[in-house]
Symmetry: C2
Subunit: 216 residues, 2 copies
Amino acid sequence: MRLSELSERSGVSTATIKYYLREGLLPPGRRISATTADYEEAHLRRLRLVRTLLQVGGLSVATAGKVLRHMDDDSLGMTIRLGAAMWALPHPSAPDAGEEDEALATARREVDRLLDDVGWESARELATVNPDHTSLVEAVASLIRLGYPWNAEMMTPYARMMHQVAVHDLDFTETYPSETEQVEAAVAATVLLEPILRAMHRIAQQEETVRRYGIT
Amino acid sequence: MRLSELSERSGVSTATIKYYLREGLLPPGRRISATTADYEEAHLRRLRLVRTLLQVGGLSVATAGKVLRHMDDDSLGMTIRLGAAMWALPHPSAPDAGEEDEALATARREVDRLLDDVGWESARELATVNPDHTSLVEAVASLIRLGYPWNAEMMTPYARMMHQVAVHDLDFTETYPSETEQVEAAVAATVLLEPILRAMHRIAQQEETVRRYGIT
């Protein structure tokens, strides 16, 4: 399809599409004359992902470019492509994250113990390079710093439930035919699903509260 | 205990505690002379919650005050106290939320259908007043606007899993003896647990990816 059709079908203006092409967020079309290029369904799909990252994920153009470059590097296997793309997504730091303190050291130890308890061996091996591991440790450190009771046993059911969610996520991405589409779907699902899960969790808390205590 | 001991045990400076007292985030101590007041364990507990809301939850002093006033209103039953406190927590709006459009109308209908499918009757009844319901509708609308396939069937397993998480949350808060402590624990758990669940979810995705595809 021509640029004008790509614009019409995606709802993105031709000026914006040209900007994405210049910034490398969208691979170039197949050139068919000095002034015209041909675009495919893959471009339409990619454009949708770019908008998801920028508009819903709130990523900068530079960060989105990084995520997409990792995804496109097909010299890498599925796990690395997916992992690298996910790790390039923003990782909110705990607001009170600061220098190394006792709480952080305890949190690191407790999270290790949690991963052992639930048998997440690869997560344990990848701990030092995984920014999500750092986020988890920081969140647990906040809890410890505030003096809340913490124990890994209390947290294992949550980890197991989140594993169920992840199994469901991957079953869904596997319904896509190619590796590239699977990686695209996984990244889009992370950005789009997190706010959905968060809202569902809070609604479920309210539903369960009414079931237990009635509306009084 | 005296103000100085409250400060020492909580790790919060006396100046800050006085500021919280003035702003109504902390109930006054029992006055024992013109210049001294006596504080109890409940003050220590409340101080911890105030820091959780301000430092981890990122709430303003005004918003935290609102949350706490709802919690303290014991003319209200458990559900309303808890609901009102939770609803006063910040509800991030979808970045592309704007005027009413077709996607938003579709999302509203689809979320209704989802709640029917999972049998969340109270959530359905409270929909119009619940800000988390609005967050869910907006998140679904983002997905529809971007042209991703959506169907309520695909989402029901997620809703059921989030319900399991909520059941676990409430089982935990019920281990606290009084209603006030239960409401405090529920609010603190929401603020502290959300970043933990999010990080666990992403780590679980990586763990499951390695299990399925190896590290290649």
